[in-house]
């Protein structure tokens, strides 16, 4: 459905995208993951035809975005980083404008009802966009992408700036949209991409660092299984205790204060290791205050992905 090959974008001497290639099949939800400035927005702007690439091609459903822009753009609904809303219009007027702009052919009233129902903006349709809260604006932005029912949706950080409840709602909305559309959405939150996407495309400094399914990416990260342990006691004593346990490969002191020490521990086998640690600590009468699976931040992913390259 979306085919991106050898995309490069340079702004003067700065390389924003460096030879990025990937393709997203019909009905897939693909997540663009990367820190700010990784090139996610640039990539999306090129895919939607807002910017042109320095080299490389983008085709949407077989139509090249440069050669046949009208055909390609007809198939895309795009929500940029800042929702492109006119504050002086009501939601209905705005959707009507987009409808005419895109020359949509659906039955207008029915189509709008369906979109507003889906995005949960039915109650604000007569209100000025200027007066809507950030969450509603974001949803109007998403509703706008659905006008004309394009098969491809490109959403640039749709959850940024929303409150936790809204984030969950938007995520489930994206999942729902993925049933009928091919979706690319970007985020810098790993758990969000994992929760929503079938595919994860990781960008860093304009380069594609990983392109895999959500599961295999987290598998790659969690191999070796790592725990976070907090215990009451002297750090030296705990350190030597940990290194005496067979299933512990490596332990590093993260912090120590008020008599508690925090360790990051890599294990060779996760099942028995937790028990081994528990009993070892118990026999030495060192209370474990906290023991949990170590969570990976985006930084960890980049470190590990970049290290492996």
């Amino acid at each position: 459905m979306i085919k991106v090959s050898h995309l490069t974008k340079k702004y003067g001497a700065t390389v924003a995208l460096d030879n990025v290639s990937f393709s997203v099949g019909k009905g897939q939800i693909a997540g663009f993951l990367g820190p700010n400035g990784a090139g996610k927005t640039t990539a999306m702007n090129i895919i939607t035809g807002y910017l042109s690439s320095t080299s490389g091609t983008v085709t949407i459903d077989g139509f090249d975005i440069l050669e046949q822009p009208t055909e390609a753009k007809k198939r895309i609904g795009y929500l940029p980083e800042v929702p492109p809303l006119y504050p002086d219009m009501t939601v209905d007027e705005y959707l009507g404008f987009i409808y005419e702009l895109k020359k949509a052919a659906q039955n207008r009233e029915g189509h709008f009802n369906e979109i507003c129902e889906l995005t949960g903006i039915s109650s604000v349709r007569r209100r000025l966009i200027r007066n809507l809260s950030k969450g509603y604006r974001q949803r109007v932005g998403i509703a706008q992408t659905l006008v004309g029912n394009p098969p491809v949706l490109i959403l640039d950080e749709p959850t940024v700036g929303l409150d936790p409840k809204q984030i969950i709602e938007v995520r489930s909305l994206i999942r729902k949209l993925g049933e009928k559309h091919t979706v690319i959405f970007s985020s810098h939150i790993l758990s969000e991409v994992q929760a929503v996407c079938d595919r994860i495309i990781v960008l860093n400094n304009g380069k594609l660092v990983a392109d895999s399914t959500a599961d295999s990416l987290s598998d790659r990260l969690t191999d070796g299984h790592s725990l976070l342990i907090r215990a009451i006691g002297a750090s030296k004593e705990i350190q030597s205790l940990l290194s005496s346990i067979k299933t512990v490969k490596r332990s590093t002191l993260l912090s120590e204060h008020d008599g508690t020490a925090e360790f990051s521990v890599s294990l060779s086998a996760s099942e028995s290791a937790r028990r081994d640690i528990f009993f070892a600590f118990a026999s030495r009468k060192i209370p474990i205050v906290e023991m949990k699976q170590r969570e990976y931040s985006l930084e960890d992913i980049f470190m590990s992905l970049v290290d492996k390259k």
């Binding site: 702004y11 702007n45 939607t48 035809g49 807002y50 910017l51 042109s52 822009p69 009208t70 055909e71 753009k73 007809k74 895309i76 795009y78 940029p80 980083e81 800042v82 492109p84 809303l85 006119y86 504050p87 002086d88 219009m89 007027e93 404008f97 987009i98 005419e100 702009l101 895109k102 020359k103 706008q144």
Partner: protein, 234 residues
């Protein structure tokens, strides 16, 4: 083109700018009408169009400054440029929306002509010539203002830019009075908007002036399209 034209027209009257423009235009044209009749004791009613030219030049930036700068500021240009529409109809839609408001104001002066016709018979060809000239004059300057607006995301900068150019156009006509250099006078006569308008004041549809105004408008519409296209490649 129709969608963007409709949106621009309604947007102009959702903000105070549309009312401000029409208000100022009607105020000054009314004042001219009044002074031509009562103070000047003159029956040459179409003088008001000529008198309005400088005011029109200074006012048109109000209409043109927001055309593209506002889109960029609100980032709504992203939806325009990623929708399945070519850039040229987008630009034309905006151009004609501004021209429509200006033309509406100009046509309103027909009311004066009707009032005038109660007392004496006005020269209709003269009025028609003047109105046509005024519309063409405005179209050319709207083209320039729109072009300036497409280059910046600040409405203020766009407005001041067009305003400065308007001022230059006004000053341009003073130059022949203070110089004896023949080629400067010839050059000014060629490019002066007000000078190009003069034939219309006599009700003459001067072909070279018509072509001058239309080609200025067309060139700047073309340049605006290029500016928007170029931004993709920057």
């Amino acid at each position: 083109m129709k969608a963007i034209y409709k949106r621009e027209l309604s947007a102009c009257f959702r903000s105070p700018i549309g009312y401000l423009f029409c208000g100022i235009y009607l105020f000054f044209s009314g004042m001219y009408f009044n002074s031509v009749l009562s103070v000047g004791q003159s029956s040459e009613f179409p003088q008001i169009y000529y008198g309005m030219l400088n005011i029109v030049l200074l006012m048109l930036p109000l209409l043109t400054m927001r055309l593209f700068s506002e889109e960029r500021k609100y980032k709504t240009d992203q939806i325009l440029l990623t929708s399945p529409v070519n850039i040229t109809p987008l630009v034309l839609g905006k151009f004609f929306s501004a021209l429509t408001i200006y033309t509406g104001c100009t046509l309103f002066t027909l009311v004066y002509a009707i009032v005038f016709s109660f007392f004496t018979s006005p020269s209709w060809p003269l009025i028609t010539g003047n109105i046509l000239g005024a519309i063409l004059f405005g179209a050319a300057f709207i083209g320039i203002g729109m072009f300036i607006s497409s280059m910046t995301e600040s409405q203020f900068v766009a407005g001041m830019g067009s305003f400065s150019i308007a001022t230059i156009f006004i000053i341009l006509d003073v130059i022949p009075l203070v110089t004896s250099s023949e080629w400067i006078i010839a050059l000014v006569n060629q490019i002066s908007f007000v000078g190009r308008y003069k034939p219309f004041t006599n009700g003459i549809l001067d072909l070279s002036s018509i072509i001058f105004f239309i080609s200025v408008a067309a060139s700047f519409i073309f340049l605006t399209v290029r500016v928007l296209e170029k931004r993709r490649w920057s």
